[in-house]
Amino acid sequence: MSVHSISTKELREQLPKVRAGLARGNQYLLIYRSKAIARLEPIKSKPSSDVLVRGGGLKLQANAPQPLTPQYLKQLATRRYE
């Protein structure tokens, strides 16, 4: 990863090149009238271990007439063709 200085004019004219650089992990210091005004950097994806599988939200078994075995679920599903 490297940091490149780039003027606002260059950013306008070379946006595809900058986007490609960002995709490679480069960072850019945006310069306007000889002053750094912003930093452009790629958004890092969250580490997968931070992504939680939530699930839940329903209480099907508690209200079902019989155990929700895979066989019973399959039997229920076939009723959509009846």
């Binding site: 699930g55 329903l58 508690a62």
Partner: protein
């Protein structure tokens, strides 16, 4: 598509994922979390989703169906695999159905997995899982 890191999720797995009163709920969440942590590509199809929503509608309220689809949509990285938009797909799964002991519905799902080169299945349906092995598709270890 990396076949080693692709898993197809069956309808019963989604039901246990959603149903916090199901005996299999905890093991399903744990197994899905492990797959997500390993950055496994999770696949299903609209056909499976429709089956899940039908079951939820049969067992619960219309509001529960909305909750179900929203919770499924939150499953990290879940992708939908769908057949070609012509009838050659149907011809293929009919042939598969004729040479296997699965129903038409499961034949369709197996054909989807075969076409997408998905080599792993997450299903609690042992009969389906046994048939899938014949087509080179193995079940993931839920333990």
């Amino acid at each position: 598509m990396n076949s080693q890191a692709s898993v197809f999720i069956d309808a019963n797995t989604f039901i246990y994922f959603l149903d916090e009163t199901a005996q299999q709920h905890g093991s399903t969440i744990t197994a899905l979390q492990k797959l997500v942590d390993k950055q496994t590509e999770l696949y299903t199809s609209h056909h499976v989703i429709e089956e899940v929503l039908f079951i939820v509608a049969k067992l619960a309220t219309a509001q529960a169906v909305t909750i179900a689809i929203e919770r499924i949509a939150e499953l990290p990285g879940l992708l939908l695999v769908e057949p070609d938009t012509d009838l050659t797909f149907a011809r293929r799964y009919v042939k598969l159905w004729q040479k296997s002991k699965v129903g038409i519905n499961d034949a369709l799902l197996l054909q989807l997995m075969i076409d997408a080169n998905i080599k792993h299945l997450f299903s609690y349906d042992e009969t389906f899982a046994k048939q899938a092995i014949k087509f080179g598709i193995t079940s993931i270890d839920v333990q």
